[in-house]
């Protein structure tokens, strides 16, 4: 961390304000997590339902600290060669073809096999050098001279082997490449791992990380988030919309509307020039934040009640 970056992380309040300026409203817990992670240099494992801004957190951190964001999307079957490094085999083959003549020159006057070998060895491992190394996200993050924000997205989708493989990077910030030796981080990257909890992460991984659980925001926080993202939204609409979404999250649905979806919904309503929630308009736009037919039906059944309630909450405020 450079002094400027440390200064930006000087207190929890400072972090909150800085993020708010970038349009990311974080709760106290989130700000605390960033503060600690920045100072202790520990990776943060972020868990929570989909669409609460886990990935966005890493984006904002990169913007706030003015670091490049390097993202590794996990999926089943992801392995070292795609996450860490790969030798450019094709390039190696091509070069051996092109350099065949040169090889002859090098070995020109050499007598016998042993001498030829010695000559070759004198030229070091040209084909297994940095030039033929294709760095993948993890290695890139380690070699970034000014540090980086490394986002390992949806780590729960990866295999157990990959999880185990991450351990060295997360605790030592170094990787071992057999042909080149151990590569240490130029400057410790800020690491975020996100997980949607489709499977339980191993204890070994959790032990190396700080654990941040991001739940759905409460009404106040969600209003702030919408205000930050869509400053031109009418006040009444904002209050009613948040009250509506909060109520929908209480229902027994297949998938609850996420924060990003309520932002989308707010944008849609704004496009339709709505000043406040109308049952008919809500019905027509339900598909913006509900993605299953059953969910739409069950919300539709209680649409009037929820809308009325949302307006009442708004009335209390006034």
């Amino acid at each position: 961390m450079t002094p400027e970056q440390l200064e930006k992380l000087e207190s929890i309040e400072r972090v909150r304000e800085g993020y708010a300026e970038l349009g990311y409203i974080c709760s106290r817990q989130i700000a605390t997590a960033i503060y600690i992670a920045g100072h202790l240099g520990k990776p943060v494992l972020v868990e929570g339902p989909a669409g609460v801004g886990k990935t966005e957190l890493a984006n904002t951190t990169a913007a706030y600290l003015d670091l490049p964001l390097i993202r590794l999307q996990c999926y089943e079957g992801l392995d070292e060669s795609k996450a860490l490094y790969e030798w450019r085999y094709a390039k190696q083959l091509l070069y051996t073809q092109i350099l065949r003549d040169k090889l002859g020159e090098v070995l020109g006057e050499a007598q016998g096999l042993k001498e030829s070998m010695d000559r070759l060895h004198a030229h070091a491992d040209v084909f297994f050098s940095e030039r033929f190394l294709a760095p993948r996200p993890l290695l890139k993050a380690l070699r970034e001279p000014g540090g980086a924000v490394l986002l390992i997205d949806e780590v729960d989708k990866s295999d157990h082997e990959f999880e185990a493989f991450l351990l060295e990077i997360l605790s030592e910030f170094q990787v071992s490449i057999p042909e080149l030796g151990t590569i240490k981080a130029a400057r410790r990257p800020v690491v975020f791992l996100t997980s949607n909890n489709t499977r339980e992460m191993s204890d070994a991984l959790k032990r190396r990380c700080l654990h941040l659980y991001v739940p759905f925001p409460d009404a106040r926080l969600e209003r702030e988030i919408i205000q930050a993202r869509i400053p031109e939204i009418p006040q009444d609409l904002k209050y009613q919309l948040v009250a509506f979404v909060q109520q929908v999250r209480e229902l027994d649905l297949k998938k609850h509307p996420s924060v990003s979806e309520s932002i989308d919904w707010a944008r849609v309503l704004l496009l339709l020039h709505a000043d406040e929630l109308e049952a008919d308009m809500v019905r027509e736009t339900l598909n913006v934040f509900l993605k299953f037919e059953e969910d739409i039906q069950s919300v539709d059944a209680e649409l009037y009640a929820i809308t009325r309630q949302a307006k009442k909450v708004d009335g209390v405020r006034a």
């Binding site: 106290r28 817990q29 600690i36 868990e47 190396r208």
Partner: protein, 444 residues
């Protein structure tokens, strides 16, 4: 400070939050970074370093609130605090502090005394009085007592003596509260462990109804571990037969040179299980837990069917599919329970209705004491089952010396069992289930 911290961690462990040494170090560093002044921030920060699932976070908050609660010292009435300062100091520092009503100093003194006598070692309810006395002594209560006595000797002692006596009473209350708090934090861990250990080893037949809830939790815990253990092993797939086609395709980019190899994925062989349970008398309670085990582990097992019998045999799979609660077990008991056991008849029922479903992949688990009330045991039917299935495991709740005594037909059934085990505690059950999964692993 470090001592307080380790005490806090041991309290956390008591509440089933796993804390490793590495995490301990992280937490201490975190605490140093955050400072001890802002309670909420400290809580948030430590929660991140120590509690790593949503459930653990809830437990953490609970323990944190309990552990770092010193409100009791602020309840003291102000008049006492402003009580007149008569002759001080000669009763020792404690008396002075009491008279001055210096709560912060008292709290500190109590903490120090507590560390000195090792209150964190308190484990049982009965040790409460002992530790309260020790802490008070360490704080120097004798000096205060002597002073009170001296004041009393001077004839009543006046208001100062009275005030001091009241303060002493108050201090006693505080210390006892504190010790009780420690007991509930530290003792909970040990007594929980003791109880769990006892339950795991006690015979399932003798179990109290009130222990059932706890038992269910223990079974869940064991199952979580088994699932983690065995699902990890299943992921090993980097050896076996080479998949030429996929390897070629993958290496096109390398000019057809086979740098990276692809292996044929092995088919997972999850065992198919048929559990046949005697539900008469003491066997019923073992059956209940066996079924709970099997259904908790459904993701590792291919297909589970369960059958219950006493006088005759029926399939009970659908009762246990959704809920393993007592309700299901009770329903089953109503249907087939409370009848004289007839193994012959039950085996006949099974042979007629379900034997056709037994195939080479089926593992049959038979749970029963083989006491058939002197009816024809029809061991030849069991032989047929044995021949058709992959493995026949017989679990008997009775200890081995009783097998074959009285009306027990165990000896006659024995030749047809691939595995015969005594099984009447949770520990036994765990071993059996683990064995079951392990063999499946090897076969795969």
């Amino acid at each position: 400070m470090e001592r307080t911290f380790t005490n806090f961690l041991s309290a956390l462990r008591g509440a089933d939050i796993r804390v490793s040494v590495a995490e301990t170090l992280d937490a201490m560093e975190t605490a140093r970074l955050m400072g001890w002044s802002d309670r909420q921030s400290l809580h948030d920060a430590l929660a991140m370093a120590l509690a790593k699932t949503p459930e653990e976070k809830v437990g953490f908050t609970h323990i944190f609130d309990k552990f770092f609660a010193f409100e009791s010292f602020h309840d003291r009435q102000d008049e006492e605090a402003s009580g007149e300062n008569g002759q001080a100091a000669d009763g020792g520092d404690l008396a002075a502090m009491l008279e001055a009503g210096d709560r912060a100093a008292l709290a500190l003194a109590m903490q120090e005394a507590a560390v000195e006598v090792g209150v964190e070692n308190i484990r049982f309810f009965t040790q409460r009085g002992l530790y309260t006395q020790r802490v008070l002594q360490q704080m120097g209560i004798e000096g205060v007592d002597a002073q009170i006595q001296a004041m009393g000797g001077q004839g009543g002692g006046g208001s100062a003596g009275q005030a001091l006596r009241e303060s002493r009473m108050w201090l006693f209350e505080q210390v006892r509260n504190f010790v009780e708090q420690q007991l509930s934090l530290q003792g909970a861990a040990t007594s929980q462990e003791l109880r769990e250990d006892r339950l795991r080893r006690s015979r399932l037949g003798n179990l109290d109804r009130r222990d059932r809830e706890q038992m269910r939790r223990i079974v869940e815990k064991i199952c979580r571990r088994l699932v983690a253990l065995h699902s990890r092993r299943r992921k090993m797939k980097n050896r076996g037969q080479l998949d030429i086609r996929r390897t070629m395709r993958r290496n096109y980019g390398n000019d057809g040179v086979l740098f990276e190899l692809e292996w044929k994925k092995r088919k997972l062989d999850r065992p198919r299980i048929m559990a046949i349970c005697d539900v008469s008398g003491s066997v019923a309670s073992v059956a209940r837990f066996l079924l709970q085990f099997l259904y908790e582990l459904h993701e590792l097992l291919h297909d589970i069917r369960s059958f219950a019998f006493s006088g005759y045999l029926i399939e009970v799979s659908e009762h246990f599919k959704d809920n393993i609660a007592d309700a299901a077990a009770d329903k089953v008991m109503q249907k087939v329970g409370y009848m004289p056991t007839d193994y012959g008849e039950s085996l006949t029922n099974f042979r007629e209705n379900f034997l056709a479903d037994v195939d080479r992949n089926t593992t049959i688990i038979f749970l029963g004491d083989a006491r058939s009330n002197n009816t024809d045991p029809k061991a030849e039917y069991l032989k047929e089952m044995h021949e058709r299935c992959k493995r026949l495991i017989w679990l008997n709740p009775e200890p081995p010396p009783l097998w074959g005594t009285g009306d027990s037909e165990m000896r006659r059934y024995r030749p047809y069992c691939d595995l015969l085990r005594e099984c009447n505690t949770l520990n036994h059950l765990e071993r059996v289930v683990n064995d079951l999964l392990e063999t499946a692993q090897r076969a795969a």
